[in-house]
Subunit: 242 residues, 2 copies
């Protein structure tokens, strides 16, 4: 039997009273670190069970504001770049009985809906700026490489797959600069594209196409500490051209 | 005072008991007719007020199934092509008091939520196959050209704008063949692209690009009854190439 602290029980009582039943938000928070695409996962108290960060919408709160609040609490970041990518609305999304048994949720006696429709958001964040922070129900929050993610609670493996497919499809429409530090080299940007797409790109074509887009600005500094000739640093030029 | 029939009052009572509060579905049903992109709108009983078709999700019903059911009721079509394009989740989406006054909804005494989060779907349909059908609360259902749409109830003008922007952005990812009859000419297909995009395309480039895509199959018939040399008919070849 897992011991939840009184704060957790109070949290669920408050959610039941203050939030919209039948609806939840799940967040796939993407970060890029050591040439790997990672997502932030939470480990539930007293278990080896992991899930995505998530939460609920207050009765008078905008859905996008709720998503910002939830992701902010797990990352410490203000004004994250968020994209609402899919509604997970199947009548039966996962085996509830099995899931509750695994995590022994302290929701006995709490009035809640029999199913939850989840609004899926992904966030693109600068990995180095995130302070992973668990919530009332969890005791560990950390990054997992996409290729090492364990079997997750709920339908969260599926949600990550749909988020990644959506990001791939919209790669050129999404501001993926949010995944990089402000200054980066062209090979680092190429590696990010390759990691999202899952296949290698031709370096010369990538360089030409990227330069032709007019979206990059070359800085005067170069990347120090590399074995070869130090490559130039760039940053995204987000101002539109006059 | 508008007189609603007992079926309408019963409908709202049932919705309150059987459907998920706080959530609705709104549908932007796109059709293509006489070189114009059109949407299906409903006129509310005893008024000159128009809105999009919409409805609610039953407590044990998948969201996508609910969307199919609602759009099917308004069009007579089975298995419509639907795409969930945006969640309209602002805390205040429109002036409720003003809106209820305009349509005098028969929901006095019905237990319902103070706001509604709307899941926006667009449908791509063959205009010639649709039988526009009003619901309990409306007395007219018909096509409107996008450039002639009046001021609509709720935030429905905004919803149409977001749907159109989404369709434009995803034009090459969406099966827009659903907007055409099975057999069409290349100029007809070009006109559809131009109408969605809102600007003209070069005919030679369009022809070359379309042929290069390998997605069309030329039929043995030609379009009869045209003043010039009868153009070939094509259809989408949806089978993947071996």
């Amino acid at each position: 039997m897992i011991e939840y602290n009184p704060a957790a029980a109070r949290y669920y009582q408050e959610v039941s009273e203050q939030c919209i039943h039948y609806l939840s938000i799940d967040g796939v928070i993407f970060g890029f670190h050591q040439n790997q695409l990672k997502v932030l996962l939470l480990r539930w108290k007293g278990t080896e069970e992991w899930s995505l960060p998530g939460g609920f919408i207050r009765k008078a709160e905008s859905v996008d504001v709720a998503a910002q609040r939830i992701m902010q609490e797990r990352t410490g970041l203000n004004e994250l770049y968020l994209h609402q990518f899919h509604v997970f609305g199947e009548a039966v999304r996962y085996n509830q009985e099995e899931t509750w048994r695994k995590i022994n949720l302290p929701i006995q006696g709490v009035n809640w809906s029999e199913r939850t429709i989840s609004l899926g958001y992904y966030a693109l964040v600068d990995h180095s700026k995130v302070v992973p922070t668990p919530d009332f129900l969890t005791e560990e929050c950390r990054w997992w490489s996409l290729d090492q993610i364990p079997a997750l609670l709920f339908d969260h493996n599926y949600i990550i797959n749909v988020a990644l497919a959506s990001l791939r499809k919209q790669l050129n429409d999404q501001p993926i600069n949010h995944l990089l530090p402000e200054a980066f080299t062209i090979p680092e940007l190429q590696r990010l594209h390759e990691t999202i797409l899952g296949y290698p790109l031709d370096a010369r074509n990538f360089y030409k196409k990227t330069m032709a887009s007019g979206s990059l600005e070359r800085l005067s500094e170069r990347r120090a500490g590399t074995p070869h000739k130090a490559p130039y640093l760039y940053r995204f030029n987000l101002r539109p051209f006059a």
